[in-house]
Assembly symmetry: C3
Homo-oligomer: 167 residues x 3
Amino acid sequence: MGYFKSIKERDPAARHWLQILFLYPCVRVMFWFRIAHFFYKIKLKFIGEGIMFLLRRRYGIEIHPAAKIGKRLFIDHGVGVVIGETTIIGDDCTIYQGVSLGGTGKEKGKRHPTIGNNVMIGAGAQILGNVTIGDNTKIGANTVVLHNVESNQTVVGVKGKEVPKIE
Amino acid sequence: MGYFKSIKERDPAARHWLQILFLYPCVRVMFWFRIAHFFYKIKLKFIGEGIMFLLRRRYGIEIHPAAKIGKRLFIDHGVGVVIGETTIIGDDCTIYQGVSLGGTGKEKGKRHPTIGNNVMIGAGAQILGNVTIGDNTKIGANTVVLHNVESNQTVVGVKGKEVPKIE
Amino acid sequence: MGYFKSIKERDPAARHWLQILFLYPCVRVMFWFRIAHFFYKIKLKFIGEGIMFLLRRRYGIEIHPAAKIGKRLFIDHGVGVVIGETTIIGDDCTIYQGVSLGGTGKEKGKRHPTIGNNVMIGAGAQILGNVTIGDNTKIGANTVVLHNVESNQTVVGVKGKEVPKIE
């Protein structure tokens, strides 16, 4: 129930845990992802991939079953989200629609991002390559991030510039 | 039939009203949205939300049933479109694929945009927060808009700069 | 089998041709696209459009049946991809999720891009209008391209600037 409570805190349109259970694609995707990840790890890769293929078809959210995802990830709306094979995501992250955690097409091996805890990634942001995003960082909508970002930053723009804090 | 005629004027690939009726996701989504909006208003919120959940699964277009939408909204293509709970849209607007009318994650209450009449929002544009977009304005593809925009403007770029008119 | 081999070269997560056959949306979309394109050309336009409508609903990839597409196009992930009616694509191109090859809304006739051979278009890029992209060019993620681009270039940013090569 901690998961539902954390979603309610992050989405003002959430009303009730039953509504979240039945009508939030993220809840279903993450439930099946844990199962697919298990199959993938015990070398039944095709079953894991097949589960994620069906989910992608239904919800437009594509997560590779080998990705390592922490607790309470909330993918809000989520159409167009792509999370690559060697991605690592910490706890309590929030990802909006259209976000890619992808590769640059040039690397082999660990070629997808490592995301810290409590990171927020705005709609349409593209984080590409084996880069690290620190804890509590916010990535603005449509930002393209191709380098490491330290903790507690806010990053915007196509070149992913860090902006000074205005608080 | 005014709706079909207005779509034909806005999309050169539209050939016939029967084609539009059967093959344009927008027509189906808007038909069901009106029904979902009615249920939501008479406090049968779960039914309204359920209808929109099924539509989102099928067409990749996610509209909150509480949004207030004017006449002849044309969502062209539409995969990845998200329209938030407190959004208000005027008449004769055109929205392309991948557009969010969303929140910034910091506000409560009225936290989504108010869009005027005859506004065009290009593919991948992100309009976030309780901002107002004036009549007849055009928002370029992949633009991020976080502030109010006056009427009759053209806005492009990640910071959403207004560009001088070249006519 | 040349197609499967070329996908395997372009996607490090691809393991086996059977996996590609069963679990890559692109393979199914391109198979049905060839059939839809045939129907469209012999003036059975509604059948061609209907096939592409069903594919769009299932995979979130929307291709107009009249588009001219070369050999071995690989649409990776692909949710949110839109390819317009008068688009021409050469051989061996790679397109990622969220890419539009669309119109600007102002033109009639040939109003969508012409893409050369061996072009890579990054996630979320918007290429709009009757522009030409030369062979072997790479378009960065979330880039907006509204003008012609020569061969062998790398283009990034909202204004689509060409970047000097660092090799």
